[in-house]
Point group: C2
Chain length 223, copies 2
């Protein structure tokens, strides 16, 4: 069911194999994000497993994974439900970002890794193209901020950023963002300014711009 040891792969591909758990995880995640499984929906294991054509064991493991990401919540002996996107949680994630990302930007500016900078520029470009389309726009925005964290070269900060940019937090932001489509373009400009500061090695500016950028866009739709 998994990998057959193929001989002579043209490129020495890392060929990351996906277990059934991974597939179930992706499928459920997709469904939750798309709204197919709405907030607060009860996730009955038997029917879900049946629907996906797997047994309950990998399904449960995927649900556990989603629960640590905050997308679903377990209640003992009462099963799993899709998380209600709590505004308090969103604000927490946002403040954590305010604390984190400026520092990451500073490190990135000190590092000036060309490859990371290229990734960030690509993200900005994608964001410009995606402006208007809410969902893509959110994805592009997320990509940029993750690239920013990765550009710091600090594995801890990268991981933390990934944890904070879990869709649970992002989706409501995307909704607010979708309400004002031209905001996305403005964000891309701010992003570009940050990249420029990093590329030029101006750590102070990178930190300040990032702080202003993140602080200026709290999770609740700005006035």
């Amino acid at each position: 069911m998994y990998a057959k040891t193929m001989s002579a792969q043209p490129a020495i591909a890392p060929l990351h194999i996906q277990s059934v758990v991974d597939h179930v995880y992706s499928a459920l995640r997709e469904r939750i994000l798309s709204g197919d499984l709405p907030r607060g929906a009860k996730l009955r294991q038997a029917s879900l497993a049946d629907e996906l054509g797997v047994s309950r064991t990998p399904l449960r493991e995927a649900l556990r994974r989603l629960s640590t990401e905050g997308l679903v919540e377990f209640s003992p002996n009462r099963g799993a439900t899709v998380s209600e996107l709590d505004f308090g949680d969103m604000r927490h994630a946002w403040s954590a970002r305010v604390a984190l990302e400026p520092g990451a930007a500073r490190l990135a500016a000190q590092r000036r890794d060309p490859e990371s900078i290229a990734v960030m520029r690509d993200a900005v470009k994608l964001q410009r193209q995606a402006a208007g389309d809410g969902m893509d726009s959110f994805a592009a925005n997320r990509s940029f901020h993750l690239a920013l964290a990765a550009a710091s070269g600090n594995p801890h900060l990268t991981r933390f950023a990934e944890m904070l940019w879990v869709p649970r937090i992002g989706v409501p932001i995307y909704q607010a963002q979708a309400a004002e489509p031209r905001g996305a373009a403005g964000w891309a400009d701010e992003h570009e300014g940050i990249v420029d500061a990093i590329a030029s090695g101006d750590a102070d500016a990178a930190e300040r711009l990032t702080r202003e950028h993140v602080s200026a866009h709290p999770p609740v739709a700005p006035s």
Copy 2:
């Protein structure tokens, strides 16, 4: 095995029930963080389950949860191992702290939670008493910084700080610290200054003092 519907609890306790999965998760996490399960250790499910007195099913779910947190890694058909998140050296952990803790201090100052402040003051007091004894001193130092993160009231920052202050990262710091025993007393003074700033609600000062404090003490023994 779980809750019996008790009548008339004196305080209407939320009584958060823990499933077996939660217990296993906590136990494994503790073992990993304490270094009992060293980096790269193979986590054989049968023996672990036997050791904890549970079956492999909840054990696997706990492992999945730990894997999304990055503490363990799954390799298809090859099982789980404790993550190598060595990150090269602890300088990464230190720079992540530089990025994190000032922001946490700012939030703490805005919050001014009396209880959290009391915890921090206790930690400082303990640190004064422990000055000289290297290991206790490290523990006290760690306690203070964790209390600082917790005082932010931000669960994400609290968790991140815990991840960064894992003993296996902190112990080498303690060793450097042990080399200059009077440093510990100075640190306590700096800590006290931070607490005062937080208690008085001076967010700017709290942030600045924390940044200076953390930045001034890189993991490698300062010149």
